[in-house]
């Protein structure tokens, strides 16, 4: 287990948005979080790298254990945590700088300055994100000149460049066309050899296609969590069954 969540509760001001979530995330697997809009799956994902800290009205109780440390321990170094737990957002958000500088941003942030070393990191990250062939001749061009799908893979590469353990993906394909989505799904399947992926998805087919574990959230509760194949073939909870058979959502 790479992540162990215990009795996690989260409030947006008075709104109890996550209720007693406990779950284990296995290493080198793809764990999908599914559920209808507003069920708390994205909220939960953002607790795992403490991005919720940015929202001043959020209050969190409970524990999230990663590598033997509770990430909500006051002594936790958040920048170090986020170096190990990378994130890809719903909307591709490359910085307004060159492709190269986007990828080198993370390593530079963590003190890598040597040119040769950065070059190697950039190439490796772009290759890992399966976008190297498309951009290798225009690394100095602005990242914003890429297409939406390319931008999202660039953002994945940017996250990989700091060599995280875990990659959090928040509906990373929801804004993309089917072809770009297919490429990213293929990429994510490759990534699990080296990384642990936790992804929020709106798309149940996507969860079935690529995830190993699947967690179903509803109204801030974790309703059911098991192997993806089990969850989709023999759900134990009536609500899970209703959701995956399309009765609501």
């Amino acid at each position: 287990m790479i992540i162990n969540v215990q009795k996690l509760n989260l409030w947006y001001a008075d709104n109890h948005a996550l209720k007693d979530i406990s779950m284990d995330v296995p290493r080198n697997q793809i764990t999908a979080l599914i559920g209808p809009s507003g069920c708390g799956k994205s909220t939960f994902l953002k607790t795992l790298n403490r991005m919720q800290d940015l929202n001043p009205i959020v209050r969190i109780e409970g524990e999230v254990w990663y590598n033997g440390n509770n990430i909500y321990d006051p002594k936790m170094d958040v920048t170090d945590l986020r170096k190990h737990i990378g994130m890809v957002f719903q909307k591709a958000n490359p910085f307004p700088m060159s492709i190269y500088d986007n990828i080198a941003y993370g390593p530079r942030t963590h003190g890598i300055r040597a040119r040769a070393k950065l070059d190697a990191i950039v190439e490796k990250a772009l290759k890992d994100a399966a976008i190297w062939d498309e951009v290798k001749d225009r690394l100095r061009k602005p990242a914003l000149s890429l297409s939406g799908g390319q931008q999202q893979r660039l953002c994945i590469a940017r996250a990989l460049a700091v060599e995280p353990d875990i990659l959090l993906m928040d509906e990373a394909t929801s804004a993309l066309d089917p072809i770009s989505t297919g490429r990213i799904e293929e990429l994510v399947t490759q990534l699990k050899k080296k990384y642990t992926v936790i992804m929020v998805t709106h798309n149940m087919q996507q969860a079935v296609r690529i995830s190993d574990q699947c967690a179903f959230f509803l109204l801030g509760e974790l309703i059911e969590y098991s192997d993806t194949s089990t969850l989709f073939s023999t759900p134990t909870d009536k609500r899970t069954e209703d959701y995956i058979t399309g009765r609501f959502g």
Partner: protein
């Protein structure tokens, strides 16, 4: 019954339609004519103003005038010292106001958590931009000269200018910071950046267009300021080095215009300076637009 009424109404209406149409047409013509007139008057005034100053001023704006200082013995007028004084004041007030203003804007937009405090400060800055500059001059004189014991000169003048341009720099920088999507900030933080690293490497570079535009507008404000400098920078027409000018009475171009016209009756010199000021202002406005667009395009 109702059918009959309807028919009657339509008949009555169709009889009156031409009248309504004529009235509406006439009305439109009058309004359009009036609006056209207001535009013409406005544009006419602007063109008259620019043309009048350039025509009367440019012919007196000679190279010797731009490159020498006034001499009583040779009875010549030169505005080189005033050009330098204006440049000194731009340099010093921007050196102080830029870091202060950008720092304050970054704090207000990126760090401050007390929304009420932020809106209060924003309101105060907004109000400050509306205060007549002679009031700043008075405060500048009382504080920098009487209280701190500075002599009239570029330093006291520049410090007063800092008070005047600071709100502009803070506001323009803030607007620029606000327009940067949070996606950039989150992207940077999610890679493990500290807050200041995020601000320095992602936020400030993206806000560059606004900061540059704001700075150029602030420089325009400095070049155009006169009232606040009468009390603080003084009327001196001698050429000084930057260092000596700090504590020596030094007239900016605008103050020199005042001195030459109202105290010596030198209308020609006055117009020459006015034309020069007009050219500088035009140039600064073009620069603001150009750099604003150029940096935004990236």
């Amino acid at each position: 019954m109702s059918k009959t009424t309807a028919t009657t109404t339509i008949t009555t209406n169709s009889d009156q339609v031409p009248f309504f149409q004529v009235r509406r047409k006439l009305y439109n013509i009058i309004v359009r004519g009036f609006l056209r007139l207001t535009t013409l008057v406005t544009v006419g005034l602007l063109i008259f103003m620019i043309g009048y100053i350039l025509i009367n001023g440019l012919k007196h704006l000679t190279i010797p005038m731009l490159t020498t200082q006034s001499s009583y013995i040779e009875d010549t007028i030169g505005i080189f010292p005033n050009i330098m004084n204006t440049l000194y004041m731009i340099l010093i007030s921007m050196l102080i106001a830029l870091p202060l203003g950008i720092g304050a804007a970054v704090y207000l937009n990126e760090y401050a958590t007390n929304r009420r405090l932020v809106t209060t400060i924003e309101f105060a800055a907004e109000t400050l931009t509306g205060i007549p500059s002679i009031v700043f001059g008075l405060v500048g004189m009382l504080v920098f000269i009487h209280l701190f014991g500075l002599k009239q000169g570029v330093l006291a003048g520049s410090l007063t200018l800092v008070m005047i341009i600071l709100p502009t720099i803070i506001r323009t920088t803030q607007e620029s910071l606000k327009s940067i999507p949070d996606d950039y900030r989150h992207g940077s933080l999610a890679l493990g950046s500290g807050k200041w690293h995020m601000v320095r490497t992602v936020v400030l570079p993206s806000a560059m267009d606004g900061i540059v535009t704001g700075s150029i507008l602030a420089i325009g404000r400095i070049v155009g300021e006169s009232a606040a400098l009468l009390f603080t920078a003084g009327f001196g027409l001698r050429l000084n080095s930057l260092f000596k000018s700090l504590q020596r009475s030094s007239a900016s171009l605008t103050v020199a215009l005042y001195v030459y016209v109202s105290e010596r009756g030198e209308m020609e010199a006055g117009f020459a300076i006015a034309a020069l000021l007009m050219l500088i202002t035009l140039l600064l406005n073009f620069a603001a637009t150009y750099f604003g667009n150029k940096l935004k395009k990236r």
